[in-house]
Symmetry: C2
């Protein structure tokens, strides 16, 4: 290039620095300028919850120091500087030093908007009281640490049981706080997980001392004379609070783009094409401020993730230096560690798939992360959602103390590539006793769906069984485990009949063909077997409970004390 390519990048967290570094590698002579409102480029904001408790150190959150960009990559870096406006016709950006308010105008050939997103803060009464925080940047986190260290009332209320809220909950507990989580919807990670998966998370959070309150709509906050928050109001109910963290999701920062006349998508993010160009072909947008395609539905979506922001940055870095790279979209993968639980999800959950109009079939399969004979096997629960006729994978959720992130990534890959249940069931996954069983939990989960598709397997969900029990419906709840197992743990109800699988053939006449029979065992393997045997013997109205006891989120009864006598 004879003429120097003049690139300006607004935003220095993830997408911006990545675009800058990529652009530099592809065009050693380009003029590259980065504008960042805070003090540091390239900050690892995903580490913020762990910084609260000191698990992560502040210095470690800065991935690259500013000098790396200035000297190593020969860029102009403005920190403590905000972009005031974009003039697409003049191809210029007005910027202002935040401290001095000195303004200047910079010209560009290509502009990159990587302005990120801002935590949602509803216009609640008292929202500006001291001690009410959001958590999206290093100053936020430093502020929380400082506030908590001087706190007398060691009670934290987290509003919103999303990813950041739950990561923060773990770390606030580690800081010695008593934590209550308020969520407007009915369960933790409500937009990510289906109810029966979230139930496992709920149980675990409770076991670690977190108080959970669902269906709670916050109306405001109250404070003391010093202007410090001391109550979260839910209508007339006041919840005692020493500090409050609002984690209600984020909104893309689009005002600069909007004021410059760039197209904003229906999702509220900046509209971009596959090259990540905005409606002005010389202006690109990426990261949390831009909308993206959901590969599963083909529709536009907003999934703010540092991982996506980095991929965006690379595509933009290529394209602003004359290349042609594209970003295909996301499948909505998320993983999160919550205390000892690993939680992952990708694609559409059951609720989302139904809402999108798919005719679906699901499976719910509890198992162990690896061969049970190899020491240390931990539990894992997999839910898959597939399209009924085609068997195409639509989404998956994995939760447990066992290795859930691996299965989530495999599902994300399968989903991206358009895999069906036949594909998933036959995946040649690595097998050795420390890592999995000969049949991976994903194989089982896909096979359950194939069995349902073929009409072999007929199941009801734990929720459906609970509803039946609550309504005191007439049916037989057939437990096909051994009496020893029954004593140890069981679903206690008058509808129960205990008939161990090995005795089913000879004692079948104890069952009435006119009855509805719902079967359970520990994991549903034996229950499914029993369903098949009964079907073949002419029993028509027979179902097993998806996931059986190991996935049963409700109360169970036990005679353990008797057993240990």
């Amino acid at each position: 290039m004879s003429r120097q390519n003049n690139i300006i990048i607004i935003g220095g967290t993830a997408c911006g620095p990545k675009a800058a570094a990529r652009a530099r590698r592809l065009d050693s002579n380009a003029r590259i300028t980065i504008i960042e409102q805070r003090d540091n480029l390239s900050s690892a904001t995903c580490g913020l919850p762990y910084f609260l408790s000191g698990v992560v150190k502040e210095g470690d959150l800065i991935q690259r120091d500013n000098n790396f960009f200035r000297n190593g990559l020969k860029m102009t870096v403005f920190t403590g500087t905000r972009a005031v406006s974009i003039n697409p016709k003049a191809k210029s950006v007005e910027i202002a030093d935040i401290k001095t308010d000195k303004h200047q105008t910079l010209e560009y050939d290509r502009l990159v908007i990587a302005t990120g997103a801002t935590p949602t803060v509803p216009n609640w009464e008292g929202k500006d009281l001291k001690g009410i925080f959001t958590l999206s940047n290093i100053p936020d986190a430093v502020g929380i640490r400082r506030y908590v260290s001087g706190l007398k009332n060691k009670k934290a209320v987290i509003v919103g049981a999303g990813l950041i809220g739950l990561e923060a909950a773990e770390n606030l507990v580690a800081m010695g706080l008593k934590v209550t989580v308020l969520e407007m919807l009915g369960w933790p990670l409500p937009t990510l997980l289906d109810k029966e998966i979230a139930f496992q998370l709920e149980k675990h959070l409770k076991s670690r001392g977190i108080k959970l309150m669902f269906g709670q709509r916050v109306t405001g906050f109250k404070g003391d004379k010093a202007g410090k928050v001391n109550k979260v109001m839910v209508g007339d109910t006041a919840i005692d609070a020493g500090m409050v963290l609002l984690s209600l999701g984020v909104r893309p920062n689009v005002s600069l783009a909007k004021e410059a006349g760039l197209k904003i998508g229906t999702t509220g993010g900046i509209a971009v094409n596959e090259y990540l160009q905005t409606s002005d072909p010389d202006i690109y947008a990426g990261g949390d401020c831009a909308e993206m395609v959901n590969i599963v539905t083909g529709k536009k979506t907003l999934v703010p993730m540092g991982s996506t922001a980095n991929k965006h940055g690379r595509v933009i870095g290529t394209n602003v230096t004359g290349g042609k790279d594209t970003f295909p979209g996301v499948v909505g993968t998320g993983v999160v560690k919550v205390f000892d639980l690993n939680v992952g999800r990708t694609g559409l959950n059951e609720a989302q798939a139904k809402e999108a109009g798919y005719d679906i079939v699901t499976s719910l399969v509890p198992s162990e992360e690896h061969a049970t004979y190899y020491p240390g096997a931990k539990d894992i629960l997999v839910k898959l959602v597939a399209e009924k006729v085609s068997g195409r994978l639509l989404g998956g959720q994995v939760i447990g103390r066992g290795e859930a992130a691996k299965r989530t990534d495999v599902l994300a890959t399968a989903l991206t590539m358009g895999a069906t249940m036949d594909d998933v069931a036959n995946l040649d996954l690595g097998y050795a006793p420390p890592y999995n069983s000969a049949m991976d939990p994903l194989h089982h989960a896909a096979n359950v769906i194939r069995n349902k598709q073929a009409g072999y397997a007929r199941a009801i969900s734990p929720q459906e069984l609970k509803r039946k029990l609550d309504k005191n419906k007439k049916f037989v709840l057939l437990d096909v485990r051994f009496p020893m197992e029954w004593k140890e743990q069981r679903i206690e109800t008058p509808q129960t009949k205990l008939l161990p699988l090995p005795e089913l053939y000879k004692r079948m006449n104890e069952l009435d063909k006119d009855d509805e029979i719902v079967i359970y065992c520990k994991t549903s393997i034996r229950a499914y077997q029993a369903q098949r045997i009964l079907n073949d013997a002419g029993y028509k109205n027979v179902y097993f409970v998806d996931g059986s006891l190991d996935a049963w989120p409700y109360e169970t009864a036990s005679n353990k004390q008797e057993l240990t006598k």
Copy 2:
């Protein structure tokens, strides 16, 4: 079905019992007979190495007791019984009780051959001495434990550095033995890993006290007066041995099938179609005795794995009861834990891809399993092999103390679905600091290949650099790290020039445009950056070293002592 379907299954380890259980679920009335030469069905032979050291208990190796099959699944089970011959015309099998030698003939409608494989034992002199073992079933393992417990010369020699050999090495060390591994080829897991990946394994094995001898062709064994092995002969060299484990791979057990006139494939396994039918449509074969398709090459292969045997069993169980299921093939995935290292591979390695005639491009990328700021991040080294023009993934290898099994499974999934480097680079993998970085190691590895495809990145392998150094070629080995890093660890050679990346622009004139320049840093990120800068400045003959110091398997020099003064 009015007439009872009469199914006979020969072999009771993995494929056989799985086929039986599946057949029972789909046809409650079928007559199902299993014939097994040993005492137990459904044994977890993959746990055998861990049983040696007591990590796994004997009882745990039996997945399901025989009564489960007899009573729970209403099958006829012959244990301690061998199949003598198959008569496809009469549709019958002759069986014999191994103890009593009582013969009988059973008729079948459908027959399943799941006879497994037998460890290879060359016709070496002295091979029948006491203390020479193979490890493929529970009696083998019990025999080794008993022998070792009475052993005075606590030296084990393992012949063959394959999967079983290395798993056994770890467990024999745990039993207090001094272990030597002899391997005919040049590195551990020679048919699975490329040399530079295997080097990491070699270093680790040595660090754990394993003596490794490569390029060693065993010629025989010598024993004491009691007929117990005490020497392994490699030509004229005698290696002291208290016991010997032969782990030279397995051969499919096909003699029954062959004598019955069934077609044997060119791989030596029983030939089957996608329904796992042999050349006789009423006879099916699956598991280690059958050949299968390699999905990557489309060619027939033998990959004996318990995971595949289980999948085969399900397909066969469906098809012998009148269904139509198919098995698509394998991609050759293998994972193994060797002491503290996790090792995984899938698809074709570089050598295999070249042998298969592909024009390829590779990457070698060292990194950490998850965000380095989150505690406990362990190392991981990824090698990818892709087709040059199309960018199609052909295979991958992952090794390190970090989470390698996850990445291997993701690659196996991508490979199965025909993913390209563009696909892998944009996979929406789950991101949270405890699990990975914003860019997963797989993203980096795919991007390196894309950079090479686009002509941006030009690299040489560690082996190529080593050859250059050994031949004392004239070139500049440019280290672009900081002096501090150089003092701590470096490739020591007179060709070295230290020029930290941030100074490259201003000190570029110290480099001669006519020289060949090979650049390294810690992980190759800076080296690649420097290569790009030099290319743009008119330096043509410039390369970086794939993986740089973190993937460098050869000796390095250090001034650590000076530094700590």
